[in-house]
């Protein structure tokens, strides 16, 4: 985010990174002289088996490319569970001192938690700082924390508005460009059929609401230093979002329903929901789960709070990190860097359903002009790439966001029943502050 110091860092770190990325396997002979391999290039030439925990489907295809290129490294891809399940296992494995992975997929929201407790290797020592220019600023800002680089961005989820064009056409509606228009559209859609909603809001998904707040300019979580945390879930951005959605909920213009269930997908399939505000990774899910109506869906940019603005936010996305418990840190770091920054690898990741985090691919005309079959042939990547370029800056997660997200449903989720999200946010803030203080942080709330 702050270009001046990071450029200096980048230049300093560029040399080893370049050597690594060029694949200087020829250097292997002198690298193997030292028994504890700390040089990435040398590590890649030393026979090693790496365990890679990830739940990204089909990632084994990209991993296979790596193994072809560096035949001495064998990478065992293990799906150790998704998200919180994987983090719990990683935490327990690290606590126990064995059984953990060498490389692991970690979502951005969980990274500060692992980085803070020094459970991840600072990849700067393996040349990762030099990668900054390859990634979108928003992706990079989420892995470069407290002066270290704790992971390599793998995919991102710049937000977009997916809408059912058939429903919109039927009602003579245009996709809304502002939240005010969104509200008008919500009224019209409901009026056309009391069983229809413009969209749903998931009372169990903290990430979804976080993204809305992020887009509205709210920055409710601020980590000032190692122990000082500020939480304000009633800052102007959070309040704007909560007011809008509370009003929509009270008027029954949106449906409070958990996403991804059979019932929810049926609502998407049948036109009961006309819209889905979500990250750019969604087209694959739409195509595979509701194949019959996927062709009716199109993408438009997110509605804006002020007409003419162009502000977006991230929803989801992961990075790849190396836990300190790994015994092959250099090779693991080299693998993580190659997997997510080598142009060939990045293209392969994208082909297998991940939305890119690299500027190289996001500006590639071949990528931008690709018609997406899932969305009736729309060249939606242009909209996604625009969204990625306009993500609001300065967002931070808590150093214990995994816990905070887990009690979202207890607080904000419950408030969706009454439609008073502000009350829910206050309750959430209290739980977050209590927990933080118990854990030894100094949490300040307004």
């Amino acid at each position: 985010m702050s270009p001046a110091p990071s450029r200096r860092r980048r230049l300093a770190a560029l040399v080893p990174a370049a050597a690594l990325l060029l694949g200087l396997t020829a250097c292997g002979s002198d690298g193997s002289a030292s028994p504890a391999v700390t040089d990435p290039a040398a590590a890649l030439d030393t026979p090693t088996t790496l365990t890679f925990w990830t739940w990204a489907p089909n990632i084994d295809k990209t991993v296979a490319l790596f193994e072809q290129k560096y035949p001495k490294i064998k990478v065992e891809v293990v799906n150790a569970g998704q998200s919180a399940t994987e983090y719990t296992k990683m935490q327990t494995a690290i606590k126990a001192g064995s059984g953990g992975p060498d490389v692991a997929q970690v979502e951005y929201f969980a990274l500060p938690e692992f980085a803070l407790s020094k459970r991840l290797v600072d990849l700067k020592q393996y040349g990762a700082a030099g990668l900054e220019s390859k990634f979108t600023p928003s992706a990079w800002s989420q892995v470069a924390l407290n002066g270290g680089v704790w992971a390599v961005p793998q995919d991102t989820g710049p937000m977009a508005m997916f809408y059912n064009k058939k429903v919109f056409d039927e009602l003579g509606l245009q996709p809304p460009t502002t939240w005010a228009e969104f509200e008008e559209a919500a009224v019209k859609i409901k009026a056309s059929d009391p069983n229809r909603f413009i969209t749903s809001i998931d009372p169990g998904d903290a990430g979804g609401l976080d993204s809305f707040v992020w887009q509205a300019g709210g920055r409710p979580f601020q980590q000032k230093d190692a122990t000082n945390v500020a939480v304000d879930l009633q800052d102007p951005g959070s309040k704007k979002v909560a007011d809008l959605w509370s009003s929509l909920l009270q008027r029954k213009l949106v449906d409070a329903a958990p996403g991804w269930t059979n019932e929810w997908w049926q609502s998407m399939d049948s036109g009961r929901y006309a819209m889905w505000l979500i990250g750019a990774w969604a087209p694959g899910n739409i195509a595979s789960t509701i194949p019959n109506t996927a062709k009716d869906w199109r993408v438009a940019p997110m509605p804006q709070w002020s007409k003419g603005d162009k502000v977006s936010a991230e929803n989801g996305g992961s990075a790849v990190a190396v836990p300190t418990s790994s015994k092959h840190q250099a090779a693991a770091a080299a693998f993580a860097i190659w997997l997510n920054s080598d142009p060939e690898a990045v293209r392969s990741l994208n082909e297998n359903g991940l939305f890119p985090a690299t500027t190289g691919l996001l500006t590639d005309p071949g990528f931008l002009d690709e018609p997406l079959e899932a969305l009736g042939g729309q060249q939606a990547n242009r909209i996604f790439a625009d969204s990625s370029a306009t993500v609001g800056t300065g967002w931070q997660y808590l150093p214990y966001q995994v816990y905070a997200n887990s009690v979202f449903k207890d607080t904000v989720g419950q408030s969706a029943n009454s439609g008073d999200l502000n009350a829910g946010l206050s309750a959430w803030q209290k739980r977050i502050a209590d927990y933080g203080n118990q854990q030894g942080f100094k949490v300040t709330t307004p």
Binding site: A84, T88, Q91, L116, S117, N195, D202, P203, G204, D205, A226, T227, A256, P258, T261, N262, E263, Q266, S267, S270, R272, P399, Y400, V402, Y403, S406, V407, K409, D410, G413, Q414, A416, N417, Y435, Q438, Q439, G440, F441
Partner: protein
């Protein structure tokens, strides 16, 4: 022949005094055998239950913080658990559940067992296995199935509502959730309890029924005065297990949580609370204390019920 026989019997008789002494000795040696038979269980019990339990009790005396590391806090975690509103709310919830769901389930199981045992059913074997099958369904599958059945739009509940041109109450809403969970538990365990009760009924000797028939007792009286006393101990056993199961309620509400996150909180039942403390909050120590308290409460209530019903049984 006769001589040898008498010799044998006389030797036996003459040996009887030392034999008794020896039997006592042998009893001690056999006692060793008793322990030997028990030993394999003791080993797996120590490895699989006692050691982790002891470790949990040990962990419960510490506090591990993200900042500041591990410190010994003595009984602080227990003090906190006893005053924890979330924990208490969960306990009250399962207690309410216990008072309503367990009698309903055991009542159904008893009726089913009596029906299957009555000999007046066509194809009793079919009913026996059929009612039991839900017990064999894994939780993951249960979540999918009940998601469909309870769904008020595209699910069965919604379709029944459409058929009658009305809207059923939202079974996954705050008002109905506990009942919906009760239904899933009842669905899953009625067959299991039916089998236990049915097996008890099978031990009633036929002569009793014949005698009753001679007395001109009807089916209802037979059920009341012969069968019910016969299944009483089994019923107590089933009750005790149901109490324990209720306090440990985890799977079913956890399944429902994915369908209604706005209703089923992370502390909905004490066991879910302990789980979420440990797995989402990294509060292993506090979680261990909560679990120990929960185990204690469960044991006390289960024991009290057992004691009470045994005393009642003797009185009757």
């Amino acid at each position: 022949m006769s001589t040898s026989q008498s010799t044998t019997s006389s030797t036996v008789r003459s040996r009887s005094a030392p034999a008794a002494r020896r039997r006592r000795n042998r009893g001690a040696r056999h006692g060793g055998w008793g322990f030997a038979f028990f030993a394999p269980f003791l080993v797996v019990f120590v490895v699989g239950v006692a050691a982790p339990l002891g470790y949990a009790a040990y962990l419960s005396l510490f506090q591990d913080r993200l900042i500041g590391g591990t410190v010994f806090v003595g009984l602080e975690n227990y003090r906190r658990a006893l005053g924890d509103e979330l924990f208490r709310a969960g306990l009250w919830r399962v207690l309410l559940f216990l008072l309503v769901q367990v009698p309903v389930m055991l009542g159904l199981a008893l009726l089913a067992a009596l029906a299957v045992d009555s000999g007046r059913l066509r194809r009793p074997g079919l009913f026996r296995i059929g009612v039991f099958v839900p017990y064999a369904v894994p939780a993951v599958v249960a979540s999918l199935m009940w998601g469909y059945l309870y769904g008020d739009r595209f699910g069965l509940a919604g379709q029944i509502g459409d058929f009658f041109g009305t809207r059923l109450p939202d079974l996954l809403g705050p008002d109905w959730m506990l009942a919906s969970i009760g239904n899933v538990v009842t669905w899953q365990y009625t067959g299991y309890n039916m089998l236990i009760l049915y097996a008890a009924l099978r031990t009633v000797p036929t002569e009793l029924y014949e005698a009753a028939a001679l007395d001109g007792a009807g089916e209802f009286r037979k059920a009341w005065s012969i069968k019910l006393p016969a299944v009483r101990p089994a019923l107590v056993l089933a009750t005790v297990f149901s109490i324990i199961g209720t306090f440990q309620l985890f799977n079913e509400p956890n399944v429902m949580q994915s369908l209604a996150p706005n209703v089923v909180s992370t502390s909905y039942t004490p066991n879910m609370y302990a789980y979420n403390l440990a797995f989402n909050g990294q509060q292993f120590n506090y979680s261990a204390a909560v679990a120990v308290v929960l185990g204690g409460v469960t044991a006390v209530i289960a024991y009290a019920v057992q004691l009470r019903s045994m005393r009642k049984g003797q009185g009757a």
